[in-house]
């Protein structure tokens, strides 16, 4: 049991811990919402800007940061990758230009996907628009030899550890029953 505990603790500690930048200055791409993106509504689209990284690294939390003004207050915003992978929120305007963000877990994808579309849809009583962002889902190359040896070690340690456990139990029982090494030779 102690062996299992050590391995489990090791595996838990091996989880990726990385600090993602959540500042808009870290985002290499930005997109203004323009009149051309408008689907409906009577007012002019203005002051909605999306900051993002067009490379989604699998394994790292991916953030989208956006700024908006009063024309978007109390509207519903949706970020949709398709296949039920989406985030919805209602915008709360607080009197000045507001900044907000959403994130997608680094485990949202398992395979590389070039030109993955992220649909950003906004709708309120006064206005609605849609924007399509082109995202590259990237899978960083694995430094996988260590995982191979780690995994292989598990098999041999598992079987070997259990054989040692059985052997110790047999010896313990032999001693208890008076059939220790010395007695066994006599018999």
């Amino acid at each position: 049991m102690r062996f299992f505990s050590i391995i489990i603790v090791f595996l838990l500690l091996a989880t990726s811990v990385s600090a993602e930048c959540r500042d808009k200055d870290c985002m290499p791409n930005e997109r203004f919402v323009t009149e051309a993106d408008k689907n409906g509504g009577s007012i002019i689209v203005s002051d909605f800007e999306i900051y993002y990284d067009n490379v989604f690294e699998i394994g790292t939390t991916w953030f989208v940061i956006f700024e908006y003004s009063s024309s978007h207050s109390n509207g519903s915003l949706e970020f949709n990758f398709g296949k039920n992978l989406m985030k919805n929120l209602t915008l709360q305007y607080d009197g000045d230009i507001a900044t907000d963000s959403v994130s997608f877990s680094g485990t949202s994808f398992t395979n590389e996907e070039p030109h993955k579309k992220l649909f950003v849809n906004f709708s309120s009583e006064k206005l609605s628009w849609s924007v399509e962002l082109d995202i590259f889902v990237n899978k960083p190359p694995a430094e996988d030899m260590i995982y191979l040896w780690g995994g292989m070690t598990v098999f041999w340690l598992g079987i070997g550890g259990y054989v040692v456990y059985l052997s110790n139990k047999f010896r313990e029982l032999g001693d208890k029953s008076g059939l220790g090494n010395g007695d066994r030779k006599k018999n």
């Binding site: 030899m145 995994g151 598990v154």
Partner: protein
């Protein structure tokens, strides 16, 4: 069982062959992000299947014990549970290493969101509970309660096995699907050899564990008679 030692030796040497086959004879795997860690496939899948076998034997032994109070069935369930834990640990831990290399991301997050991983871990923890419960002195009540706990595998084993087919999971499904036919022949040879080797090792260890359990029970019986 006669030839038990021979079975163990054959299983061990076959496992060495699978190691040679996977690490040396076949080069790095194609179509995988982690072409080296893919080699874990040859032991990861067999150890998972043997875990199911072991836990199904616990279910069978527990059911028979509850039906006719057979001491042999109880012994079988107890021994098999222990081996299921060992093989389950091998499958879960190797799968975690492979998953980390192939899928990336946070391990804890994967275990919480992927139903195959979550249900298999839950099944394993259930039998850890069974194992811990059985560490107390044997009595009729302990055996009966353990058998009831052991029977819960009747739900947990199919749930874990079928979870990647019907629930949300990234875990691939190969056995009994169209993908089985598309499995590369070289993968198939390694997989079957790995399965046979771990099966033989399982039989060997199971016989040893049954023998140990028999010794323990005889010793206890003799002591009781002396008292």
């Amino acid at each position: 069982m006669r030839y038990n030692r021979e079975i163990g030796f054959v299983g061990f040497f076959l496992a060495l062959y699978v190691l040679y086959f996977s690490l040396i004879e076949t080069g790095p795997a194609k179509f995988f992000t982690a072409p080296n860690a893919q080699k874990l496939f040859y032991f990861h899948v067999p150890s998972g299947l043997i875990t199911y076998l072991a836990f199904l034997m616990v279910v069978g032994g527990s059911a028979v014990y509850l039906y006719n109070k057979s001491d042999y069935a109880d012994q079988l369930a107890k021994s098999s549970a222990e081996l299921g834990i060992v093989f389950g640990f091998m499958s879960l831990a190797s799968g975690t290493f492979w998953m980390k290399a192939e899928w990336g991301g946070d391990i804890v997050d994967r275990f919480l969101t992927d139903m195959r991983l979550a249900s298999t871990l839950a099944m394993w923890l259930l039998y850890i509970a069974y194992f811990v419960y059985r560490r107390q002195p044997e009595s009729l009540a302990v055996k009966k309660n353990a058998a009831i706990l052991g029977l819960s595998g009747m739900i947990m084993v199919p749930l874990s096995y079928l979870s990647s087919r019907f629930l949300r999971s990234h875990h691939p499904v190969i056995v009994a699907t169209e993908d089985q036919g598309s499995l590369d022949p070289s993968l198939r040879v390694g997989l079957y050899a790995g399965l046979l080797s771990l099966l033989l090792i399982y039989v060997f260890l199971f016989q040893m564990r049954m023998k140990l359990e028999g010794f323990e029970r005889n010793l206890l019986k003799n002591k009781m008679e002396e008292v």
